[in-house]
């Protein structure tokens, strides 16, 4: 169970300041798979980071009465000069998992081959993300957090990784911010709509989708409308020039 106590989160500065959450009270069950929906995709990602503890709320408290994973694909906290093997062992030790088991498993699934004993900094960014994703799911957690923009959750890059993900989905809870409704429908059995600074939980996923569609995107301010008009005008002008 993850409990949000009067959580407020303000992002941006100056004129772009806005509330992602406004004094939210909620209880998120740790045994369900929750899809986070909302009119502003960026906010759902901030929500995931808040639950993970990577960013801290402006006010209020988040109580985690469950073992919550780091967001799959999270890149912070790895040591670039150490080998991938040592990094994986470190994370397993950090989260109190069976070190040998996790290292063997990740070595097998991640397909890194010789790179597994080479420095972590040598990996490409997408490989780093895949590694972090596999690592997150190979450590037993009560709740897994997933951000769709970091790892394309629907397209795991090999069969074993996909099987691991599905096995974890059967036994553990998940909280997923995904822009792909098909993926959310496949894996989630509960919905959470984050709109206008408030959070609403739905036991029925379809009703969550329906509610998310109702919530209009936030009203634009005068400056934003003006900026949008300007961009439109520029685009039209460029098109006209190209046609000439």
């Amino acid at each position: 169970m993850i409990i949000l106590e009067e959580v407020t989160k303000v992002v941006g500065a100056g004129g772009k300041k806005r509330d992602v959450l406004r004094a939210v009270r909620a209880k998120l069950p740790s045994s369900r798979r929750i899809a986070v929906l909302g009119p502003v995709p960026e906010d759902t990602k901030i929500f995931i980071d808040l639950l993970a503890g990577i960013i801290l709320p402006t006010a209020g408290r988040i109580v985690r009465n469950a073992r919550v994973s780091f967001p799959a694909g999270h890149l912070g906290g790895f040591t670039p000069e150490l080998s991938v093997r040592l990094n994986v062992a470190h994370v397993a030790r950090l989260y109190g998992a069976d070190v040998e088991k996790v290292v063997d498993f990740v070595a097998q699934v991640s397909d890194l081959g010789k790179d597994f004993d080479k420095p972590y900094s040598g990996l490409s960014n997408s490989r780093k993300r895949d590694l972090s994703d596999i690592l997150a799911f190979s450590i037993p957690f009560d709740v897994y957090l997933l951000r769709d923009d970091v790892v394309r959750a629907g397209k795991r890059y090999n069969r074993e990784a996909r099987a691991l993900f599905e096995a974890r989905a059967k036994t553990s809870g998940m909280i997923i911010a995904s822009e792909d409704p098909g993926f959310a429908r496949e894996f989630c059995n509960m919905g959470l709509v984050l709109a206008d600074g408030q959070v609403r939980l739905f036991k029925n996923l379809e009703r969550a989708f329906a509610f998310a569609e109702q919530t209009a995107p936030p009203a634009r301010t005068r400056e934003e409308r003006r900026a949008a008009r300007k961009i439109k005008r520029k685009r039209r002008a460029r098109k006209a020039r190209e046609e000439e």
Partner: protein
């Protein structure tokens, strides 16, 4: 979670971080060796100058000059190394796993420095004992340890302040090491505070590090009077530094986010 279980888990996290530091140090051992050799180099240089310039074979407190400088520089550099470079992988929450907190990194840093300096101390004073003087084995080990414990407290508080302020503005990165090094001058490393005029002594008496150095020296020179030493002042100052450091860390945690 039961308290015992939670505590075990917390020590597991600290252990994992310690081990990681150890592993990355093995990757580049040269850096840490150079860091540790700075006080040793200074001690040797000054002792040499002492011989060359003064041609006296006895330090202000009796015994060989090398021991006199070692007992002064060792505690001061212990303070400097505990307090400096607490930053690192702890810059922003996005650059670590959510399970590790900023304070955990600070604690691991302090533990590592303590281990480093225990080894350095044994090697340094052992070396002086072998090559120069029998006095290098402390007469009163409790005073030496008490002084070092106080220095850990002071260094922790100073280091956390350093950590927090240097995130606010880069200038602090230049100011803090300067202040730390200036402290070396006013902590009675080169002179014996007892031999100064009462006015000067009164001003110097506010510097807690001077008390720590005096206490440290008292462990080696039992005949030393150390009239300026106030152990209670040092103890209170160290406890306040620890509490203040913890408080600053806690209060600024919210502003740490990106």
């Amino acid at each position: 979670m039961a308290p015992a279980q939670a505590l075990r888990r917390y020590f597991g996290i600290l252990g994992a971080l310690l081990r990681r530091e150890e592993e990355s140090r093995r990757q580049s051992p040269f850096d840490s060796i150079v860091n540790l050799l700075e006080p040793v180099f200074l001690i040797l240089l000054l002792s040499f100058l002492f011989y060359a310039l003064q041609r006296r074979q006895v330090s202000p407190l009796g015994g060989p000059p090398i021991l006199y400088y070692a007992t002064g520089f060792f505690p001061i550099y212990f303070f400097i190394y505990v307090s400096r470079r607490m930053r690192g992988s702890i810059d922003t929450p996005g650059r670590r796993f959510p399970i590790e907190q900023r304070l955990d990194h600070v604690i691991v840093h302090v533990i590592l420095r303590i281990i480093d300096y225990s080894f350095l101390g044994i090697l340094l004073f052992g070396g002086i004992y072998l090559f120069s003087s029998d006095q290098a084995i402390p007469q009163d080990i409790t005073k030496v340890v008490a002084s070092l414990v106080a220095i850990v407290g002071l260094g922790f508080g100073w280091g956390v302040l350093n950590l927090v302020l240097s995130r606010r503005s880069r200038i602090w990165n230049f100011i803090f090491p300067t202040i730390s090094r200036i402290l070396v001058l006013f902590s009675g490393v080169f002179f014996v505070p007892d031999f100064l005029t009462p006015d000067t002594r009164y001003v110097l008496g506010f510097n807690p590090l001077m008390h720590a150095v005096q206490l440290f020296r008292l462990g080696f020179y039992p005949q030393y009077t150390a009239i300026l030493l106030d152990v209670r002042y040092l103890a209170y100052f160290a406890i306040c530094a620890v509490l203040l450091g913890l408080m600053i860390e806690r209060v600024t945690r919210r502003f740490e986010g990106r």
